[in-house]
């Protein structure tokens, strides 16, 4: 009886939810020494940013893996978040900092997201039009693209004059430990837009994972839906990158944990599971590191290390098959 309940994805997702809730409570309440108003403001902002990050990376990674039919490829591995960093620097370079400084940061963010969506769609078309069939070649291309974007944005940053660069900074330097909380509301709004878009396509997601031919056979306008999903992915990658900067293996880690925990490929389970896993990793991981292990090891390092090991394991398993 207990076993059969446990086998249901619903109960597993519920347990994950409980763990995530515990992580949030732990993150907010452990070791409070100053007064509560300060803690609420300081930790609250960080917590919201990390929650949004878990949402953005969890959902975008699962969606990306659905449309690419791979458990290995993620937006981060294909260089999408570095592309966002490039976009922010390029926008500054083209429009000039003094003019943009007059804009509100949220408006700038919106502009960057729009450019990002356009570029991501272009990149996706180039990479996934069917000309590149080998998964390993795809990973290699993604890594190359990531390196190229990183170098380009560094180059652009050097061309910028220092005061302008000051405006762009914050985004490229953000990380799990130095969360950017200035754009919380804009990030929330962008997430909401992406979520509404996703709601429109939600019924098609499971069909998409059956492959292009079967999806078309079942009457899904495959090209249009994939494009729509890609827009959602691009918005969410922008949100994650503006909050915590580029990541590498975090998405891969939480998406695969979500598949493994739910034992299902239904998006009604995998999407919430990957978000909740992300919350447990980010907030719970922070609590465990800081208060249980009292370690000064940066969380990002631990997460990326675990994700990297998983990546290698998946790669090896793929080779063996």
């Amino acid at each position: 009886m207990v076993m059969s309940v446990w086998r249901k994805p619903a109960s597993r997702v519920a347990l994950l939810g409980l763990l995530a809730l515990l992580s949030v409570i732990g993150f907010m309440t452990l070791n409070v020494q100053a007064d509560w108003a300060f803690i609420l403001e300081y930790r609250g902002g960080r917590m919201m940013a990390l929650l949004f990050t878990a949402c953005a990376i969890g959902i975008s990674t699962v969606l990306f893996q659905t449309i690419t039919h791979s458990r290995l490829l993620t937006p981060a591995l294909m260089g999408f978040d570095v592309l966002y960093v490039l976009v922010t620097t390029l926008v500054l370079l083209i429009w000039g900092g003094s003019e943009l400084a007059a804009w509100s940061p949220s408006l700038r963010f919106a502009l960057q997201v729009a450019v990002m969506v356009g570029l991501a769609l272009l990149l996706f078309r180039l990479l996934f039009s069917g000309s590149v069939r080998s998964l390993h070649l795809m990973i290699l291309l993604g890594m190359l693209a990531g390196m190229l974007f990183r170098e380009l944005s560094e180059l652009a940053a050097r061309v910028l004059d220092p005061s302008e660069f000051g405006i762009s900074s914050g985004v490229p330097q953000a990380s799990f430990n130095r969360v950017n909380t200035k754009l919380l509301w804009a990030a929330a709004a962008a997430l909401a837009v992406a979520g509404l878009l996703l709601l429109r396509w939600r019924r098609y997601l499971d069909v998409l994972s059956l492959g292009r031919d079967i999806a078309i056979n079942l009457g899904v306008a495959h090209g249009r839906v994939v494009l729509g999903v890609m827009v959602v992915v691009a918005i969410m990658v922008s949100v994650a990158t503006v909050l915590v900067g580029p990541t590498l293996f975090f998405g891969l880690l939480i998406a695969n944990l979500a598949y493994w925990i739910t034992g299902s490929q239904r998006h009604c389970w995998t999407l919430p599971a990957s978000v909740l896993t992300g919350i447990v990793c980010l907030l719970g991981g922070q609590v465990v590191l800081e208060h249980v292990l009292s370690s000064t090891l940066p969380l990002a390092l631990v997460i990326e290390l675990a994700g990297g090991l998983l990546f290698i394991a998946l790669l090896l398993r793929g080779v063996r098959q």
């Binding site: 059956l210 078309i216 056979n217 009457g219 034992g263």
Partner: protein, 254 residues
């Protein structure tokens, strides 16, 4: 009726399907045969809008396949290709239930469930109902996919080499099932086949393709003949009548 009008497919300089105008009547069992590279599969996937055409048009009961909304066509015509995702963690029942998607949009009604049960019964999948498809053998998995297409309950059922990778017993089983679907349910079954003996024994109508064009078409007794097959495959094939079935023998040249 399925009607192709001057359909062509070009990949770079190579013309894979060359100006094909073809009519496949409603009802019955049609096989498409021919040597490798004749354009059989490409033609089938253009008819079912999986591959865009370079020229021409395809009408299914008067509907242009490239202009008709996907879900409208999905209730009239279904297509199964040979290489399907095999790594999915899905139970057989869940896979088959996807066949109802064009009708119910993902939320199963009692009527949908009846169709799912019927399709599983029809393909004798009941004992595998809750098994994940990635744990099935090739033949069982193929049957699960065919059950999904049957569950879609379309007038036209198109299959690209459904006998690939399955052993003789399952192959005969599969052909019997498809034949029954045509006879008992009045479906129009169109199948690309490599094994000309299966085509000979089960078809009402055979389309023989060569170099991107239909070279011959007609009833099995008109196509399964020494001279026609020699022309088509450029090899010696002897046709013998065994128990009223026309069987081709070509395995060892003398």
């Amino acid at each position: 009726m399925i009607e192709t009008r001057g359909v062509s497919k070009r990949y770079g300089d190579v013309l894979v399907v060359n100006d094909v105008s073809l009519r496949i009547p409603r009802g019955g069992f049609t096989s498409i045969i021919g040597p490798n590279g004749a354009g059989k599969s490409t033609l089938l996937s253009m008819i079912s809008r999986l591959t865009p055409m370079s020229a021409g048009s395809v009408m299914v009961d008067g509907m242009d396949v490239t202009r008709t909304p996907g879900n409208v066509l999905a209730r009239r015509l279904s297509i199964l290709r040979q290489d399907n995702q095999t790594s999915l963690r899905l139970t057989v029942q869940d896979l088959v239930a996807f066949g109802r998607f064009p009708h119910s949009g993902g939320r199963l009604t009692a009527d949908d469930r009846r169709h799912v049960d019927e399709a599983m019964e029809y393909l004798r999948l009941n004992e595998y109902r809750d098994r994940p498809i990635d744990e099935l053998s090739g033949g069982q998995r193929q049957r699960a996919y065919v059950a999904m297409v049957m569950c879609q309950d379309t007038e036209y059922v198109l299959l690209d080499e459904p006998l690939n990778n399955i052993d003789m017993r399952f192959a005969v089983d599969m052909m019997q099932l498809l034949r029954r679907a045509a006879d008992e349910k009045g479906k129009t079954v169109v199948v690309v086949l490599h094994d000309i003996n299966f085509a000979s024994c089960y078809s009402d109508h055979i389309v023989a393709m060569r170099n991107g064009k239909p070279a011959f078409q007609g009833a099995p007794q008109e196509i399964i003949r020494d001279d026609v097959l020699h022309d088509l495959y450029e090899m010696d094939i002897k046709v013998h009548e065994v128990n009223g079935q026309r069987i081709c023998v070509y395995f060892r040249t003398t």
